[in-house]
């Protein structure tokens, strides 16, 4: 005890003590005080473990692998100090360290390559690291006393920085301790940039940020002893923009203000607003996932009122297609494979989702009803998520990812190197689902036809994956909870998730909605929110989350808030001052329609119906309740692959097979030539070629053709025998151009 007190209160005394005992004490260079006194004794947790991490000894492919390497196992990146200390100081009959002859220690002989080492030479004999480890061994491998100051957090100095291309600036990483001490740990810190070409830490190891040659942004992550800090680097566009250029930009609501603020930081300017026809088409596709009709387009273009954009958005949000379109997006995240969960169960969750969006169920209620669902999988669709993921650890990791944007899955087995979450967090979170009871017929793929009841059991326990001990439910920010037998832990979880102090809950949904409307998330991927994957505009995301919560988690209000911003109505055409912007929303980003929307659009333009298995005639692709309904079209344009678990995000990148499918697929050509399809009907009508061209343009592009387009198109059409053929070819042509398949 005296030893420890001396160490904490006065390092000088301790240095003398140790020097006396060991006869050797070198000043070690990588521990420097920031105005405070240095910790001179080398101890395991505070000095040796960071080195093991920095040198890669405890990396996933080396001794950090769960079963270790050649009999020597360390915890991944040093998250379990007791385990690591035992492995080094006690296991292997103490062969790994020899205090009496430190340089003969296996730990040093292997690490320096003096003995064959699978991981090669990691340390040079005589280097400061070598000396440090050697001294530590010679001193009898002291551990860091339990009551010694703990690292509270790690910060980077600076925490954000604007640089000019190719500039170099030093970055310091400071560990802050519970006793208020600050220590520069830059040299023992591992760095990673999320975009090395924009900015990275040079290989010299002394924390120099090197800016790349082109403007942009990068987040440089610093990791020291399971603490993470991020330094945000910005390299603005060269040249200056007068402040007045920003002051005069329109501000419909706070979204605009925050986007302009970010653009100003980068020296970028937004594109001008887009034209009415493009806005009209964009608004339809983004709110209800379908093209406007000829009449709707004509009426909108003729409307002279100044607030017609706003009126349009209000009207669209009340359309019945809204529910199908948004439920369909959520189905991507929650829809099980019917071969696994059973047809009836899959149909039920689909119906539940559609109903929720039809009623515009507040999002907090939506999540609460899902995660606390009880009852039969044949009656309450919300219960199906528990049928699909019956284990607490499965449903736990998907709930945290879907609704909190937190990927806990890695933490199941080990502390995640780029996350703050630990195994305790993972199991504590999963334990909320440890009392979910299942009655009835469980999963029995490939049919799984039975009915199952989900209920809350009076008891139930989840054991920690590493310790094997029972785990109490614990939220990501709270303490372990003890619950009585009549309490459902899921209720406590729902209360915490939807509580107004929860930092994650509204953000994830705000980001998802933003991504659906703007074509790209502020955080990308949309459900991976963490310090090391920052939003392109953190202030905007915070604002959207705040607004969403203030408005009672009303999804339609959030959509309206985003869509009535000036930013939503910007043109997609880049200007000189934003051409390289691909994530700050200085212009609208074009995106291909997703598979269902595109298929419905093709059918609407041609005036034909699709015949889906397991749906009534006349149903739209947007109403499909299972991905198992076969459609070569939807497969070609991409829908979730149920063979992947979890199914991956849809890709909207266009591919050659998609082009070929639109050009040549027998199914599409059959539709073009149907007697009941639009081309045949137009041919049979007494409309003139000009009228037909105008109608085709309004159907496919939702705008009238300009005079040049009209002339060219009319020239391709002919009268008599060939009239119908020409019209079919015109429709084929329009469907095969990007102006049709892209949201502009």
């Amino acid at each position: 005890m005296i030893f420890r007190q001396q160490r904490c209160d006065s390092c000088n005394v301790l240095v003398t003590l140790v020097a006396f005992c060991a006869g050797l004490m070198s000043y070690h260079s990588n521990v420097q005080a920031d105005g405070n006194t240095a910790s001179a004794v080398i101890t395991f947790e505070s000095d040796i473990q960071p080195q093991l991490t920095r040198l890669g000894c405890n990396a996933g492919a080396c001794h950090g692998k769960s079963r270790g390497q050649n009999g020597f196992a360390l915890s991944l990146l040093g998250f379990d100090s007791d385990f690591d200390y035992d492995a080094i100081a006690r296991e292997g009959r103490g062969r790994r360290v020899f205090p009496s002859s430190a340089e003969e220690s296996l730990l040093l002989r292997k690490a320096t390559g003096q003995l064959p080492h699978g991981g090669g030479k990691r340390v040079d004999v005589g280097s400061s690291t070598y000396e440090e480890i050697q001294t530590w061994i010679r001193n009898g491998m002291p551990r860091t006393p339990a009551d010694s100051p703990k690292i509270v957090r790690v910060v980077t100095e600076p925490s954000s920085r604007s640089l000019i291309p190719l500039e170099k600036v030093p970055l310091h990483v400071i560990a802050e301790y519970s006793n208020g001490r600050r220590r520069d740990v830059t040299e023992a810190t591992a760095f990673q940039s999320n975009d090395r070409t924009i900015a990275a830490i040079t290989a010299s190891g002394d924390g120099i940020i090197q800016a790349g040659p082109v403007p942009g942004e990068a987040a440089i992550m610093a990791r020291y002893m399971n603490h993470i800090a991020v330094c945000a680097v910005t390299i603005p566009l060269p040249g200056t923009v007068p402040d007045s250029a920003y002051e005069t930009l329109p501000r419909n609501n706070a979204v605009d203000e925050l986007v302009w603020k970010k653009l100003k930081l980068l020296g970028m300017l937004p594109s001008p607003p887009t034209n009415d026809a493009t806005f009209h088409r964009r608004a339809f596709l983004r709110t209800i996932g379908r093209l406007p009709s000829v009449e709707e387009t004509q009426a909108y273009l003729a409307d002279q009122s100044f607030d017609k954009r706003k009126t349009l958005i209000d009207q669209l949000l009340e359309r019945p297609e809204y529910a199908d379109f948004w439920a369909n997006k959520w189905a991507d995240l929650l829809r099980p494979n019917p071969y696994r969960a059973g047809i009836k169960a899959v149909w039920n969750i689909d119906a539940w989702l559609r109903d929720a969006f039809r009623r515009n169920m507040p999002y907090d209620q939506f999540v609460r009803e899902l995660i606390t669902a009880q009852g039969s999988t044949w009656n309450n669709g919300a219960t199906v998520i528990f049928r699909d993921r019956p284990e607490a650890i499965e449903i736990g990791s998907s709930v945290s990812q879907l609704f909190l944007g937190v990927r806990l899955e890695c933490a199941k087995c080990h502390h995640h190197p780029f996350e703050v979450w630990s195994q305790d967090d993972f199991f504590g979170f999963a334990a909320f689902f440890s009392r979910v009871g299942h009655k009835g017929q469980g999963l029995s793929p490939p049919i799984s036809g039975g009915e199952e009841s989900i209920y809350s059991k009076p008891s139930g326990q989840l054991n920690h994956g590493r310790t094997g001990l029972p785990v109490l439910p614990k939220t990501l920010t709270g303490v372990p909870l003890t619950l009585g037998p009549d309490e459902d832990p899921r209720e406590a979880l729902a209360a915490w998730m939807t509580d107004s102090s929860n930092p994650y809950f509204p953000k994830v949904m705000a980001n998802r909605v933003w991504a659906e409307i703007m074509g790209q998330g502020l955080v990308d991927p949309v459900d991976d929110i963490r310090a090391t994957n920052p939003a392109s505009n953190e202030a905007l995301l915070d604002h959207l989350a705040f607004e969403f919560r203030q408005q009672g988690y009303d999804i339609k209000k959030l959509i309206r808030h985003i869509m009535t911003s000036h930013v939503f109505g910007l043109s997609s055409t880049p200007t000189e001052r934003n051409i390289s912007d691909i994530k700050n929303f200085s212009r609208y980003y074009r995106q291909r329609m997703r598979a269902e929307v595109l298929l419905d659009a093709v059918n609407d333009v041609l005036g034909v119906e699709e015949d889906f298995a397991a749906l009534p005639p006349g149903s739209r692709a947007m109403q499909l309740w299972t991905y198992r309904s076969s459609s070569l079209f939807l497969d070609t344009f991409g829908r979730p692959d149920l063979n992947q678990d979890p199914p991956c995000e849809r890709s909207v990148e266009s591919t050659t097979p998609q082009v070929l499918h639109l050009m040549n697929s027998p199914a599409l050509n059959r539709k073009l030539g149907l007697d009941t399809a639009r081309p045949a009907k137009l041919a049979a009508s007494n409309k003139s070629s000009q009228e037909i061209v105008v109608e085709a343009y309004l159907l496919a592009y939702n705008r009238p053709p300009n005079s040049e387009e009209q002339q060219i198109a009319i020239a391709f059409l002919s009268e008599g025998d060939q009239r119908r053929r020409g019209i079919e070819d015109l429709f084929w042509t329009l469907l095969n151009t990007p102006e049709f398949s892209f949201i502009d």
Binding site: H416, F418, T656, H661, N664, S665, E708, F716, D729
Partner: protein, 443 residues
């Protein structure tokens, strides 16, 4: 079934029926080979067939058995002799063992990405993932080898330069090289009588003149504005590239012929095995013959956390038969000198055999410290083993190479400088491979 036939007998009979003379007899086969070489110098360049074993095949059960290790590491199988003195394969690799004098095994590739998402990315692009990803991830931070070859080499006759059969591997995409360099996926089964590559031909009831007229009409009426500056990242530019590729594929007779499996003699089809994987390998050869520089043969189901031994008796033997046939066929046609065949997956498997909780049969888990890769052709020395793992197969310990070195070897053999700098859409410079040193022993 044909797949069970004896390999040697099959070769001889095939050659006789084709009138090519016996394998060892020289004659016509040799003259074919000579002609092949002559052609090379004028038009033909090198190609690569990557046989991607998705899931990560065990090194123990393929090319790096450890007969002297304890049973819990050694596993159920015996090691068998190969044609390379002192080199053993696992017992299900009989056919490859019998042609081991035509190939090289690298036993000492290792990396540090122990999950499928990251392992796939590292092995197929030569770059580790920029941010940590997990097993379920399909990520792309860097262009895949196939996409780079497509970008650098292109193909002739409208054929896409990069095929992936029957699907794309997770990180097999083009990343910043653009959609034009995404693989052309042939998902239909070439073993089916009705096999045709869908949508690449004009619909039957449309006479050709009309299809041409439609395309003409399209070229006149497509007035959608494009943002040509690459930095703008306009996805429509990618769609245009796809359209061009689609049209040239539809209009090239040579390209169309490569897909017509029925043109291949029945004996050859039999020899590859009348199963999807066998015929996919044959399709890969036909594509390479037609000038395609990169074909990925994706073969899933190698993630043997359980049931590893029964799996290698079926799946392993099929792999052995198909790969051996492909290499021999390429060799007989004189194509092996210009065609690189690579067989690999994300990683090797753990030395210790374990039964996972919830499983009833033993297996091995992910293990990136020791990976065996089969390499043949394109000037690769025949009949050698490069590097070694320790006696229990835990780690590559001799001549240890990283995925960067392997990928650099592929690029070098395909005439692409692995040290070159590519530019992303925003103009950022990126090294093709961060460590551009190829594996010297392969060159």
């Amino acid at each position: 079934m044909t797949t069970h036939r004896n390999c040697e007998g099959l070769q001889r009979r095939d050659c006789l029926k084709l009138g090519l003379g016996s394998l060892l007899g020289g004659g016509f086969v040799d003259s074919l080979r000579v002609r092949g070489h002559a052609e090379d110098q004028i038009t033909r360049k090198t190609s690569c067939i990557l046989i991607w074993l998705d899931g990560g095949p065990s090194h123990f059960e393929t090319f790096d058995p450890k007969p002297n290790a304890p049973a819990e590491i050694r596993g159920e199988f015996q090691a068998i002799q190969t044609r390379i003195p002192g080199v053993l394969f696992s017992e299900n690799m009989t056919k490859l063992a019998s042609i081991s004098d035509k190939l090289t095994i690298v036993r000492s590739v290792r990396h540090d990405q122990n999950n499928h998402g990251a392992g796939n990315h590292y092995m197929t692009t030569g770059a580790p993932t920029r941010i940590p990803v997990s097993c379920g991830a399909f990520v792309s931070f860097h262009p895949s080898m196939g996409s780079v070859v497509s970008f650098e080499r292109g193909a002739r006759d409208g054929l896409p330069p990069y095929f992936s059969i029957p699907e794309m591997s997770r990180s097999g995409g083009p990343n910043f090289l653009g959609a034009r360099h995404a693989p052309f996926v042939v998902s239909d089964d070439p073993n089916q009588q009705s096999f045709m590559v869908r949508d690449v031909t004009i619909p039957k009831d449309l006479d050709d003149g009309r299809a041409v007229n439609r395309r003409k009409m399209r070229s006149r009426l497509d007035q959608f504005v494009r943002f040509h500056d690459q930095a703008a990242g306009d996805p429509v530019m990618g769609a245009d590239e796809n359209y061009q590729q689609a049209v040239s594929l539809m209009t090239s007779a040579a390209a169309q012929r490569a897909f017509e499996m029925h043109r291949e003699p029945g004996q050859i089809r039999d020899a590859y095995g009348r199963n999807a994987f066998g015929q996919q390998a044959l399709l890969a050869r036909r594509l390479v013959e037609a000038g395609v520089p990169f074909v990925t043969l994706y073969n899933g189901g190698w993630d043997h956390h359980s049931n590893i031994f029964p799996a290698f008796r079926t799946q392993g033997q099929k792999l052995d038969a198909v790969v051996a046939r492909l290499i021999e066929d390429l060799d007989q046609r004189g194509m092996l000198e210009t065609t690189l065949v690579i067989v690999m997956g994300e990683f090797g498997r753990t030395p210790m055999i374990t039964t996972l909780p919830g499983s009833t049969t033993p297996g091995r888990d992910h293990w990136s410290s020791a990976i065996s890769v089969l390499v043949a052709g394109c000037g690769t020395p025949r009949g050698q083993v490069i590097g070694a793992t320790d006696p229990r197969g835990y780690a590559a310990v001799e001549k240890v190479y990283a995925p960067e070195n392997l990928v650099s070897s592929v690029y070098t053999k395909l005439g692409i400088n692995p040290d070159k700098i590519l530019y992303t859409a925003a103009g950022r410079p990126t090294h093709l491979v961060s460590d551009p040193r190829p594996i010297a022993e392969l060159m």
